[in-house]
Assembly symmetry: D2
């Protein structure tokens, strides 16, 4: 080993990743989690929460473009957007590329936002200063519960639902019902939905099955994010209309922003929503329904 | 850590993977490389050559279907097929699903084939006993050099071109010229083409650029193979016709074998060949041309 | 790394050891603990309980000779011996070299003894078949509590007192009072007493301090055991006479068995009982008194 | 794992140590080696050269007292001292506690001295400013070769003789002959002499055997240094008189400095020079003679 300094991340009971560690940019703790910004050899500056990789300088653009743009394009003319989580500000940055009127971002952990603003300023790119944005430091579930028929798009950008972490109550059927109620008539939501490496497919599939209990139209999709070391699952759900892509419509919508995009275009969109056979097979078999009284935890060391 | 026993794989100077180790099924060495069959917690039985993961019980179907079927369908009615490498026998297994007349497989290392037959018999599934198959233990480059205008499809299924490994002379422009000469008029080839995680894109792009020096039509594509921990690059090249997919043709060709396929279908095909924007951008910029006197090595510890 | 297969042992929150793994000789679980026999590159066959190294083919002789012979020589003519723990049988093997009349060995975990007999037979060397030996499968504390004024020597050979392990109630003041009561007039006991690497000195010192609450004469000592990766603490305690070494007496006692000893002789004895200044300083400062209602745990991952 | 950040040190082909990494205090490279000062959880600030632990805040006092004081006391009234290596300045610090007239320190790597002065100032404790000290940046072997019959004591304090490191020519018979020639009539030398964990005994034994080819009196000894994770070998050699310890003499010599010592006293001295039986057995069997044309390398990754 030429490198001696490593960041060690256990991603499952059977899998550990070592990232070469070049610099400890920041380390600290909030009341909710351990927060670290580490510069690694492969991915540049990386944000870790409770020892789990969240996003990296090298490829955060893939994850954030993949999370934001499909739903923002498939829902026609979204004006009022809610982001649950998204502390780094990069989801917000992508949302603001669209001609929206109001973005509410609700994140539990003020400390993550402060750390990201100071040490990862390119990720939010001053998005928090945009007059259309309102930042609320609160439990996203409590906030969403209080809102009815207001948001055109809701984007769930949260860490994994770990047993001792802050997020596991935001992946349940009850929570998705609150999301549905908070959406406007043709509203759509999207959520990150876990790794789809073969072993973890169960979590992805269960999120999809749970969404299907609540929403009439659910579109699971996948994105390659190298620093996640596995094809990553996402899921888009629509309250009342079947989201369909039309090439002409897509081109018109993407035109004003396409210069700002590094990952997303029509081919990337097609690739993400074209699932390989074994993933469709697993989705068709279905997973467990995740409920408040029977939550599903990702792996936690 | 609940597990104490691990297989440690350094995949780049900045990246190390730990796979939980359940059983040492086989370990030994051939004159060419260290051979290990290890049962891991995540992937079941895994074949490692010189400490690098080659294929696994859990997801070898993805890699082998992705490597074989696109070229076998895009080339109309391929009858004579050459496999360079492919010691596990799984590439052979997939090829034989098609109505071919003759398959020649040339692999340098008899020992890998023996180990795979004994410890991973499901992977070749008796393919070596098929009367259409001829196995040659030799240097694939020397063999291909000796053949002209004979094979309809050539499949290059080799380990990474490591500096001290057996394969680095099978990724050069001179080698691809031999492949082209060995192909029939409308012949096509496919090769595995390295990781496309952001750091390693250079290798993938250089293989594509090198192929373009030799072949008029080159189609780079990607497949998710969880045990490779990164979107994996492949490249298809055609000697004289532009390979195009037609839905009706595809359905007709896939029909007789589709029950045997776990990964590959029209959507998987579309997803693999729809590259995200940043990968197209990198390919358009181009890489280095790999030559016999300037070979390109992947990372070797 | 030339080796890919490793056994990973976390020995403290700040310290992890990797042992190259050559063979999984045995793995299983008893009701009390996970039991593994692993052949490593450095130490040959090794016994691990709950992922912690217990003894190894290469250097178990050091630990077992260091544990057994000082007390067996310092106590004049010991005839009745109790071993608490000692599942591998190697402590028993060393005790039986002396002209004893009766040895009772009490170990909680029958499974460890069976595994050691089958996979590590050289360690007990048929000691369990000796007619002077009586093996009791029981909680050693319960057994000792039931015995009064019977044993000349009691040897405590137990794993570390981990919070979720079986041994932490055998390092308390109350337990040592039971041991004292079970000893004959000039009886002596010895116990393994944890690592004395600088960070862990507190545990060693606390065991010594606790013994001093109960016994008038306590002699802490150290032994180098390479596979323990730190100078290892032990402690000998005497009920009524100050144990002193006399060269002539030592030579006479050691003479009949010295051919069987690989580690222990007068110089090894002197070295073990001559503590460096900083360790004496720490012992003089004293540690906490370990009690049933305030036990001390070693590190557990 | 509560800690995610680790320093990984491979100490042999079969052994790897992980130290929790708290802070990268310094990292850089000289023309000779990679230099790192890392704060670890177990040992505080640590100096690593080429990825190998050299000394630590927590226990450098053990190594440096063990290296310096035995030879300084056994050689009567040493006035002129040579230190070969010793870049951290801690060996110098210990030497200057004695009433010496002149200390020459020869170290190849100016950069290590600068880094130690800046980041580990407690280790040299201003020793470099003492008017009795002369620092020479040069190859210690070349310097010693040029000196005859001058130094009363020579202390060899060098990193391991790695194949690609700067030190392997300072462990050979030819080098020890130069050392002997540079010593005064009753002169003595001491050298660090490698790990004595069971596997590495060969290196220690070979250094002892090689010294015996040159010096009439050779005294191998051992010291516990927790951060070295094994009992560490040292060897003292005398040019003309048999070094013997006399309690009264020892007490007189140690009296003026004993308040400054944390590790070394008469018991520590006795313990270090009382070797256990298996180590004496190995020394009696003897090792290889290390020569300029047949050097011995320690493990290098």
């Amino acid at each position: 080993m030429k490198n001696s300094k490593w960041y060690i991340e256990q991603t499952s009971p059977d899998e550990v990743l070592l990232h070469s560690l070049k610099e400890i940019v920041y380390e600290g703790s909030s009341p909710y989690q351990r927060i670290e910004v580490i510069r690694t050899g492969n991915f540049g500056k990386c944000l870790f929460l409770d020892g789990k990789m969240q996003s990296t300088e090298a490829d955060e653009f893939i994850y954030h473009e993949a999370l934001v743009h499909p739903v923002m394009i498939l829902r026609e003319n979204p004006e009022r957007i809610l982001i649950a989580g998204g502390g780094e500000g990069a989801t917000l940055r992508e949302v603001l590329k669209h001609p929206v009127k109001e973005v509410v971002m609700v994140d539990l952990d003020d400390e993550v936002i402060k750390v990201a603003k100071e040490y990862l300023p390119e990720w939010s790119d001053n998005a928090f200063e945009d007059p259309r944005v309102r930042l609320i430091i609160d439990d996203a579930r409590a906030y969403i519960k209080s809102v009815k028929n207001y948001f055109d798009v809701i984007i769930i950008d949260l860490p994994e639902p770990a047993e001792d972490g802050p997020a596991f109550m935001l992946y349940t059927k009850e929570f998705y019902e609150m999301v549905k109620a908070a959406l406007t008539e043709n509203g759509m939501m999207v959520t990150q939905a876990a790794s789809t490496s073969l072993i973890n497919l169960k979590v992805f599939v269960s999120i999809v099955s749970t969404l299907k209990e609540v929403f009439p139209y659910v579109k699971p999709y996948l994105a390659y994010v190298p620093s996640f070391y596995s094809p990553w699952g996402l899921a888009l759900a629509s309250k009342s209309i079947d989201p369909q892509i039309d090439r002409e419509y897509f081109d018109k919508k993407i035109e004003p922003i396409k210069k700002t995009l590094k990952f997303y275009d029509i081919e990337a969109h097609m690739a993400m929503f074209s699932l390989p056979k074994h993933i469709k097979t697993a989705i068709n078999k279905g997973g467990v329904i995740i409920r408040d009284d029977a939550p599903l935890y990702f792996y936690q060391d």
